[in-house]
């Protein structure tokens, strides 16, 4: 059964340094691989936690503070972002990411319930600040593949990777 697209207006503000606007969020109907059904409550939690992860990711890369990643990222994703922050600090730059819109689709819920994979066609702006001078501003569109795993009270992003369309 084809469900109509559910358009959600995210209540989460993208509080990056470049502005306070809210990203628009669209959640496509779930077409899951795997035998495990996805409850609405789980779906909402995953999406909420993923959108929240954009806030902490943006703040961490803007302030070059890897500790801001801890609440929302784990494993490979956290390690890579932390490494990026270290490289940014060494290079004397910081970056501001502002998510403009998300088009989300949950594609896999692993049978044992320990991972959820989704895609996000995301539009975002990136601003590069080199020694306190804005040197570049770019609008990007990318398809991200995201894998989240459950932690104590939330879902954390374990894989966060842009892939070609």
């Amino acid at each position: 059964m084809i469900k109509t697209l559910l358009v959600l207006t995210s209540v989460i503000a993208a509080s990056t340094g470049t502005g306070n606007t809210q990203p628009s969020v669209r959640v496509e109907p779930t077409s899951l691989q795997g035998p495990r059904p996805l409850q609405d409550q789980t779906k909402e939690a995953v999406i909420r936690d993923y959108l929240q992860s954009w806030k902490s990711f943006s703040a961490a890369l803007d302030q070059n503070q890897p500790g801001l990643l801890d609440a929302d990222f784990v494993g490979t994703a956290r390690d890579k972002f932390a490494e990026t922050i270290q490289q940014q600090a060494s290079a004397g730059i910081r970056t501001q990411y502002r998510d403009v819109s998300h088009d989300l689709k949950i594609i896999f819920y692993s049978p044992e319930g320990l991972s959820i994979e989704m895609t996000d066609k995301v539009d975002y702006d990136i601003q590069v600040i080199d020694h306190d001078k804005i040197t570049a501003t770019q609008h990007l569109s990318a398809r991200y593949i995201v894998v989240l795993t459950p932690a104590e009270v939330r879902w954390r992003v374990r894989v966060f990777q842009a892939v070609p369309e």
Binding site: T76, I93, I107, S115, E117, T135, A136, F160
Partner: protein, 289 residues
């Protein structure tokens, strides 16, 4: 004179544009690069500049000489994702976008298998999910065939080949009829990941007891208790003996020892004795009837 002025202005403007182009520099960036592979960015113009490669997963900074090719050795840029290259030269930095793709060769399988222990003879009860990564921990999203195999100590094996989608694949297997330590493996291109799945006997299939008089006691014991696949039910499993006599019941719970349950009960002529374990009922004995 009036006619010459615009020409002169145009000439100055053209010279300024050319000069500006040379100062600001330009670059040619590959559309995509494989993670960890060497690549280069060709610049034009003259003078010194700074080249930044910026992405969420990695940042590089290079001082460059405009007009030369900037080489990045293998292993320089290894995290997959979308990047921007920023050439800081003059007043207007140039920006280009490119992708770093996961390497095609798999290096690691993240294999989640559940459960680690289960009864024999269950359909689709063992599941495995795999994510495929390259040597730089990038998710490989190009479809690839994952060979899942569940093998028992007896040599019997179930095999499923599943194509990955967006970097993951999953399968479900039946637990076999034989108890023991099975190996559950996922393989791709010479990379494998193995989990051990312990299969234990299921619930008792049938219960049969016998009775023998010993003085004023009735010695009750079961035959060896097995599941429906013939596996011995583990010691410690509780077997319940119930003796009913003149409307009163005496119930005794006995754990299996060496595969059987045994108990002594006082003899009551006319008593009925039954045996059960879990939901399985055994035979009944009417003593002295």
């Amino acid at each position: 004179m009036k006619a010459r002025l615009p020409l002169i202005l145009c000439g100055v403007a053209a010279a300024s544009l050319q000069l500006g182009f040379a100062q600001s520099g330009n670059m040619t960036v590959p559309k995509s690069v494989e993670a960890g592979s060497a690549f280069s960015i060709q610049t034009t113009g003259s003078g010194k500049a700074t080249l930044l490669i910026v992405g969420p997963a990695q940042v590089l900074r290079r001082d460059v000489q405009l007009g030369e090719s900037v080489s990045f050795t293998s292993g320089s840029l290894y995290n997959a994702g979308r990047y921007i290259a920023v050439l800081e030269a003059g007043t207007t930095p140039e920006t280009e976008t490119f992708d770093v793709l996961a390497a095609t060769k798999p290096s690691e399988l993240s294999f989640l298998a559940k459960p680690s222990r289960l009864p024999v003879g269950l359909h689709d009860a063992i599941t495995g999910a795999v994510y495929v990564f390259d040597a730089y921990h990038n998710l490989i999203t190009v479809p690839a065939p994952i060979a899942f195999e569940l093998s028992s100590p007896s040599g019997a094996a179930q095999k499923h080949v599943v194509q990955t989608r967006d970097g993951e694949a999953w399968t479900a297997m039946d637990s076999t009829g034989q108890q023991g330590m099975d190996k559950f493996a996922a393989q791709l291109g010479g990379i494998s990941s193995v989990r051990v799945v312990t299969q234990v006997p299921g619930d008792p299939c049938t219960l049969k007891m016998s009775a023998k008089q010993s003085g004023q006691q009735l010695q009750l014991s079961t035959d060896p208790v097995r599941d429906c696949n013939g596996n011995a039910v583990p010691d410690g499993t509780i077997v319940t003996f119930t003796e009913t006599y003149r409307g009163a019941s005496a119930i005794v719970d006995v754990p299996l020892k060496r595969g059987i349950a045994a108990v002594d009960l006082p003899i009551h002529t006319g008593a009925t004795i039954s045996v059960a374990s879990g939901v399985v009922m055994g035979n009944q004995i009417g003593w002295g009837k």
